[in-house]
C-alpha cells in the first residue's frame, strides 16, 4: 500500500475519482418511496381498520345505496305522495316529503362521518373526491325530486 492509498487527498487518481459528477435523483423518487411505504403501512394495519381504497369504495357504495334507496322508495314524489295521500291531507304530504329529504341528508352525513372515523387522517385523499362526487349526485337527486314537485294523487284529486 503506498502513501497515496492512505491519504486520498494527496492522490491524483483519487482526486480525479472524487471529482466525478454524482448522478442525482429528483424529488419524484421521494414520492415513490413514500407511496410504497404508505401502501405497506396500510396493508399492515389492524384488520378492523379499512385501507384507504376500501374505505373510499365503501363510502361510494354507501352513498350510492343511500341515494338509490331514497330515490326508489322514499324520494320518488309519486310513490311517496301516493302512500301519504291515502291517509293525510296534501299539505301534510308536502311537509313529509321535505322530512324525507332531510332524513336522506342526515343518513348520508352519518355515513360520511362513520367512514371518516374509520379512516386515519391523511391517508384518504380519494375521500374528498368522492364526497364531492356524491354530494353532486345527491344534489342532483334532490333537484330531480323537487323539480317533479309534490303531485296530489289522482284518487285524492277526485275526492
Amino acid at each position: 500500500m503506498n502513501a497515496m492509498d492512505r491519504d486520498p487527498s494527496g492522490d491524483p487518481l483519487g482526486k480525479a475519482l472524487a471529482a466525478l459528477p454524482r448522478p442525482r435523483l429528483g424529488p419524484a423518487f421521494n414520492r415513490r418511496i413514500m407511496m410504497a411505504l404508505r401502501a405497506e403501512t396500510a396493508s399492515r394495519r389492524a384488520p378492523w381498520t379499512l385501507p384507504a381504497e376500501a374505505s373510499a369504495l365503501a363510502l361510494a357504495s354507501t352513498w350510492m345505496a343511500a341515494v338509490l334507496w331514497t330515490l326508489l322508495f322514499n324520494w320518488t314524489p309519486e310513490r311517496t305522495l301516493h302512500a301519504l295521500s291515502l291517509a293525510m291531507h296534501p299539505s301534510e304530504a308536502g311537509a313529509l316529503l321535505k322530512l324525507q329529504l332531510a332524513k336522506g341528508l342526515i343518513l348520508c352525513t352519518q355515513s360520511l362521518s362513520l367512514f371518516r372515523t374509520l379512516c386515519p387522517s391523511g391517508c384518504f385523499s380519494p375521500e374528498l373526491v368522492l364526497q364531492w362526487a356524491c354530494a353532486a349526485l345527491l344534489a342532483g337527486a334532490i333537484l330531480f325530486a323537487v323539480s317533479r314537485g309534490p303531485e296530489p294523487h289522482a284518487a285524492w284529486r277526485k275526492s
Partner: protein, 190 residues
Amino acid sequence: MTEPLADDRSLVRRCLAGEDAAFELTLDLYRDRVFSLLCRLAQNPADAEDLAQETFLKAFRNLSQYDPSRPLLSWLFAIAHNTAMDFHRARNPALVSLDAEEAPLELPERTPRLELAVAASLRSREIELVLSSLPPLYREILILRHQEELDYAEIGRILELPSGTVKNRLFRAREKLRTGLEAAGLGECG
C-alpha cells in the same frame, strides 16, 4: 464521514416513530449518494433507480436493526451493496464473485509522471469510461474509498470483508484503473 452522527440517531428514532418528515429527510440527505454508488454498480440509471428504491425500502423496513454506533449512510451503502450484488447474480450468476480475488496482476512499471499527468489532464467522462470497464467489485471499492472517502474499516463493514482484503482489493482496483487509463492513452496526457 465515518463518525456516527447524533443526527442519524435522532433521525432513525423519528422514523421508527413513524414520522413522515423523518423519512423524507433521510431520503433528501442520502438519496443521491446511494444512487451514485448504485449507478456505478448497475451502469444503467433505470436499474440504479430501482435498486435505490429497493435499498431504501429495505432500510426503512429494517430500521430497528440499525446499529447507532455506525453512520446511517454506511448502513445504507451496505444494503445497497447487497441489493446490487443480488441484482448482478440474478442477471448473470457467473459475473460476480464477492470474495475471490483475481490472479496476481501483471503490473506495469510505476511512473510518477503518469499520476501527475493524470491529475493534470483527465476528464471526468474518460475516467467514467475506464471505470465502467472495471468489474463491479472494483468500481464499488474505488467509489467508496475515493468519492465517499470512507476508511478501510468502514468499507470492510459495508462489504463484509477484513481490512486487509479491502486494502488488497483497493490496490488491485487502482492498478486496474491505472492500466485502463494508460491503455486509453490518458497516461501520456500532459
